[in-house]
Structures are given as structure tokens and as C-alpha cells.
Amino acid sequence: QQQVRQSPQSLTVWEGETAILNCSYEDSTFNYFPWYQQFPGEGPALLISISSVSDKKEDGRFTIFFNKREKKLSLHITDSQPGDSATYFCAAHASSSFSKLVFGQGTSLSVVP
């Protein structure tokens, strides 16, 4: 069964530090990896995404690093702010699944002032 795993389950960093959220997968047909950010009481919102042909994607303070050989990726949040406190989901799309996403279980990030 297709699986996406995230670690750690929860993470606390100080304001200004870099938070690193990890994601791994098993299915080699996965070709697109979006990260979603979810605040309490809200739905997930697309934050940043990367395709399997790239090894890095940057958007402001958010950067995805992708290692296709090891089937791992990570989301780096530099200069973390209290407003970044949220749950982050890694997801994956398989080329065979036509527009379906498989989600990891999420990482809850707390940024302490």
C-alpha cells in the first residue's frame, strides 16, 4: 500500500531558528509532492510543492529538499516565526493514480517566542 511517513510527530523550535520537517515514501511512482499547512480550526492550505525532476524548491523562508534515490524529502522553515505554528502535511501523487494524493500523518510545529 502506498505510504507517506512524516517525522517528527511534533517539533518545537525557538523563534528565529530553522525548523526541519521530514517526509519519506515507498512508492517509486510518486512524482509530485505538495506540502500543506493547517492552522487549528481550518482546512489544509497548499504551502509549497516540488516535482520529482527537481531536488530543491524555494519560496521565501520555505524550502523543500528532495532526494529521489533515498525516497526522502524535507521542508526547511528558516527564521521561524510564531505565526508558523501549525500542522504540516507532506503529500504525494502517484503517476498511476490520476489526481489522488496520499497524505502523511502530519508534523505539529510550535515556534516559541
Binding site: 480550526g41 481550518e42 489544509p44 502535511f89 489526481s99 494524493l101 500523518q105
Partner: protein
């Protein structure tokens, strides 16, 4: 303006009762999805649709039905609600046709007593 809306936002139902969760999108997206979110499980796909009149089973369809009467509307139906269906339910829309991004509604918190 919110492009994906859900109603109701909160619902308390009795075991054995019928529950209908509604979703409306103004993105003019072909694809729509229903997920449930439970602690430790991330987002799990229940049903999805490629367009008006179509519904497909997701990863956890048992106990749920879906209806897509129009491009804009997608409903999730629990014919005989059970306490194990207590959860937060999210609807999402996606362009499909190679567009993998999904856009989520605010969620419905369902409690089955």
C-alpha cells in the same frame, strides 16, 4: 471569498441516524474529494469525483456514500451513522487533467453519539 465551502460546520448525530455533509466549490474544478482527519492518521480519502454524475471509492469508503449532482456540489452521506465516524471531514476541489493541487474547505466536525 472562500472557494470551497462546507455545511454544516458542526453536527451532532445519533447512532443509526442519517447524516448528509455538503460541499460547494466556485473554482470550476472538475475533481472533488472527501477526506476525514483523525489524530495520528492525517487525511484519508473517502470518496472522490471526476465531474458531475461521477463518484469513485477512495481508500476508506465503507459506511459512506457520495453524490455529485453538479460541477459545484459534492455531498457525503452517512446512511447509518456510527460513533466510529466521529471525525473532522474535509472537502477539497482540484483541477484534474494533470493539475495535482487540491484546495480544501474549512471542515465539518461530526460527533456521533
Amino acid at each position: 471569498e472562500a472557494a470551497v465551502t462546507q455545511s454544516p460546520r458542526n453536527k451532532v448525530a445519533v447512532t443509526g441516524g442519517k447524516v448528509t455533509l455538503s460541499c460547494n466549490q466556485t473554482n470550476n474544478h472538475n475533481n472533488m474529494y472527501w477526506y476525514r482527519q483523525d489524530t495520528g492518521h492525517g487525511l484519508r480519502l473517502i470518496h472522490y469525483s471526476y465531474g458531475a454524475g461521477s463518484t469513485e471509492k477512495g481508500d476508506i469508503p465503507d459506511g459512506y456514500k457520495a453524490s455529485r449532482p453538479s460541477q459545484e456540489n459534492f455531498s457525503l452521506i452517512l446512511e447509518l451513522a456510527t460513533p466510529s465516524q466521529t471525525s473532522v471531514y474535509f472537502c477539497a476541489s482540484g483541477a484534474g487533467l494533470g493539475g495535482y493541487e487540491q484546495y480544501f474547505g474549512p471542515g465539518t466536525r461530526l460527533t456521533v453519539l
